[in-house]
């Protein structure tokens, strides 16, 4: 395998992780029948809260846990306003994003007297998985070993997520809510309850995705998510709203992004074009996939 591909794939695996995490939560809301564009805001909330709490508690696990709570709180607000005040989910989600981007800066100013980058030198590096035995395996080892724990956590969560959706009553009810709300009602179940939980789940996973961004850096930068929540939404659709699909889709984008990072040095094409690669690449993948599916079930 050529020497360029390995590092590109290695960083692709790292890049895809926050997207994968966020898209998992997004999958829950999506399947419950709501287009949740608040992933961005939820990620940002988690990113900020988890590093700040890690700083104050001095314990990364506790910090992340509290960060997750903060993000879930925002998700709960979003859920209440959307489901119980019956507001348009798109607008409320936009509001959630606006809210998160504002609140994080206001708080960081109130807490650290600084609206800008807040560096936390007391925060150690994220633990990494280095298993020499596995790392030795030629290609596999080079690509999949030596990432921070979030990468592997995301895979475990993905499996869990698949199990919940396809192997538990909750999963079936959640999906039923998305497909045929009235069917749920007529069986005496409350769709809004399942949607609310879906919001909480998206708060949970998005927070983890955000936490990876800041803890990996040991610093909070305003707006650090910079659109990753939106890409996570794309990942859900490209992944055909299936857990395994998310993995594939996130990898597609992660690879495209990693590749564009490499290409900036390798080609002399205007940087803006290269920055566009991930979007174009994903778009193409999206189209190719839908061509494939439409061919598959067509009357001859």
């Amino acid at each position: 395998m050529n020497p360029v591909a390995i590092p590109v794939l290695h960083s692709a695996v790292a890049i895809m992780t926050p997207l994968l995490l966020a898209s998992m939560g997004g999958l829950f809301t999506e399947l419950s029948g709501m287009l949740n564009i608040a992933l961005e805001g939820l990620m940002l909330m988690g990113a900020f809260a988890s590093i700040v709490f890690t700083h104050f508690t001095g314990n990364m696990v506790v910090g992340i846990a509290l960060g997750v709570l903060a993000s879930m709180l925002l998700a709960a607000i979003l859920g209440t306003v959307t489901l119980h005040l019956k507001s348009n989910v798109f607008i409320t989600a936009l509001a959630a994003n606006l809210f998160a981007s504002g609140l994080t800066v206001v708080l960081s100013f109130k807490l650290f007297g600084n609206k800008g980058v807040v560096v936390f030198n007391d925060i150690g590096r994220l633990p990494r998985l280095d298993i020499p035995a596995l790392a030795k395996i030629p290609v596999f080892g080079d690509i999949f070993i030596g990432h921070n724990i979030f990468v592997y956590l995301s895979w475990v969560l993905l499996a869990l997520c698949a199990w919940v959706l396809y192997r538990t009553p909750f999963g079936f009810r959640l999906r039923a809510t998305g497909i045929h709300e009235q069917a749920m009602v007529s069986l005496g179940m409350r769709p809004s309850r399942y949607r609310f939980i879906a919001f909480l789940v998206s708060g949970f996973t998005c927070a983890l995705g955000g936490a990876m961004l800041t803890l990996n850096l040991g610093a909070f930068v305003p707006n650090i998510t910079s659109g990753k929540g939106w890409i996570a939404l794309v990942v859900i659709f490209l992944g055909q709203k299936k857990p395994i699909g998310l993995l594939f889709a996130a990898l597609v984008f992660g690879f495209a992004d990693a590749f564009s990072n490499y290409a900036q040095g390798a080609w002399n094409v205007p940087a803006d074009f290269i920055l566009a690669i991930p979007y174009v690449f994903t778009l193409v993948a999206m189209v190719l996939f839908s061509i494939y599916t439409s061919r598959k079930n067509r009357v001859e």
Partner: protein
């Protein structure tokens, strides 16, 4: 005849009820603002004054508020059209930006044409936005690729390309702003309400609302578009060209976004600056949703949006409110603005016994 009058009465009652609901919402939202500024501002009263009265305190701010509403109206119309047909256009940012860019360079190229050039340039800008959105429509029509996602992706890519073109080949060497050259005087809309930035584009916006309303509710095409949006299978059954209505409304919505961009340049900025339109696309979408995709309601929705926006801006200018606090305040408003429950508070349960 009686039925007609009865119908009118019912509709009037209904509209009244809705407006009461709207008032309730605005009331709550404003109450929230008061609380927030008490929390976040050292000079809450000053802040509130500028927030509420700022946009109205003089022709300059008032004009700028109206001016801010213009692209929102165009964008809102575009989204409404798409939504009515059951399509979702998330590509507003790129469509508006590229529309503005193409309109600008056309204006520069057609400098000699004068007012005819204005029309052509705006048309080309609109077409650009339209084609970008139309592409997503075609993809949906042929392979039913989610237009929601493709329009978003296309837009993101296009924003980067346009930015490159502005900062590169089309950059005005004479300025340190990252922008194209200025469009010729003859292409600029006349300013009304000097010294504010408000221009005659406002009339264009109002006319556009009228046109879209008539199109949707009075023309055959609009009727077909709405039916397709309400039930595609029924539309197909009724012999409506369903393929066409997966593409055409997307094209229209993109075109309106493109027009929004062109209008912003010809009416306000006169040159296409890098990323000048950031956020306009999303705001147009928000306006459409607040207006529940009713063209007529787009104007009040856009004005409301612009009022909140410039209120926040005013509080920043003249009080101690920062960028971020302003956005928190806005977010609270948007949390509530579409609430159906709050709408209901206004509605009087009608008992006919």
């Amino acid at each position: 005849m009686v039925d007609r009058m009865e119908k009118r009465r019912v509709t009037i009652v209904a509209t009244l009820r809705n407006s009461i609901g709207a008032v309730v919402i605005v009331g709550i939202a404003l109450a929230a603002l008061v609380v927030l500024s008490l929390l976040l501002s050292a000079t809450p009263l000053k802040t509130l004054r500028y927030f509420f009265l700022g946009p109205l305190q003089n022709t300059y701010y008032f004009g700028n508020m109206l001016n801010m509403a213009i692209p929102l109206i165009f964008g809102g119309l575009g989204v409404s059209l798409a939504m009515r047909s059951g399509s979702f256009n998330l590509g507003g940012e790129g469509q508006l930006y590229s529309g503005a860019f193409v309109a600008t360079i056309s204006a520069l190229a057609l400098a000699r044409w004068g007012s005819a050039g204005v029309v052509v340039a705006l048309f080309l800008g609109a077409c650009t936005g339209g084609l970008l959105a139309g592409l997503s429509g075609v993809l949906r029509m042929k392979w039913n690729t989610s237009e929601l996602i493709t329009s978003f992706l296309v837009s993101n890519a296009v924003v980067l390309v346009v930015s490159y073109l502005i900062a590169g080949p089309f950059m005005d060497p004479a300025t340190n702003l990252i922008a194209t050259r200025m469009i010729p005087e003859s292409f600029r809309f006349t300013r009304i309400l000097e010294p504010s930035n408000l221009s005659s584009a406002l009339f264009a916006a109002v006319i556009a609302v009228l046109v879209v309303h008539l199109y949707l509710y009075k023309t055959k095409s609009g009727y077909e578009l709405r039916l397709f949006g309400l039930n595609p299978r029924f539309a197909a059954y009724g012999g409506i060209r369903t393929k066409w209505y997966q593409v055409w409304p997307m094209f229209l919505s993109g075109a309106f976004y493109g027009l929004a961009g062109g209008m912003a340049i010809f009416g306000t900025y006169y040159a296409c600056m890098k990323e000048f339109s950031t956020g306009m696309g999303w705001n147009g979408l928000a306006v459409a949703l607040i207006a529940r995709h009713r063209p007529a309601a787009v104007i009040p929705a856009a004005l409301f949006f612009a009022y909140i926006e410039s209120g926040a801006r005013n509080a920043m200018l003249h009080s101690d409110v920062t960028f971020e606090i302003a956005s928190i305040v806005q977010s609270v408003v948007f949390f509530l603005v579409t609430s159906a429950v709050l709408q209901k508070i206004g509605s009087v349960q009608r008992r006919s016994i």
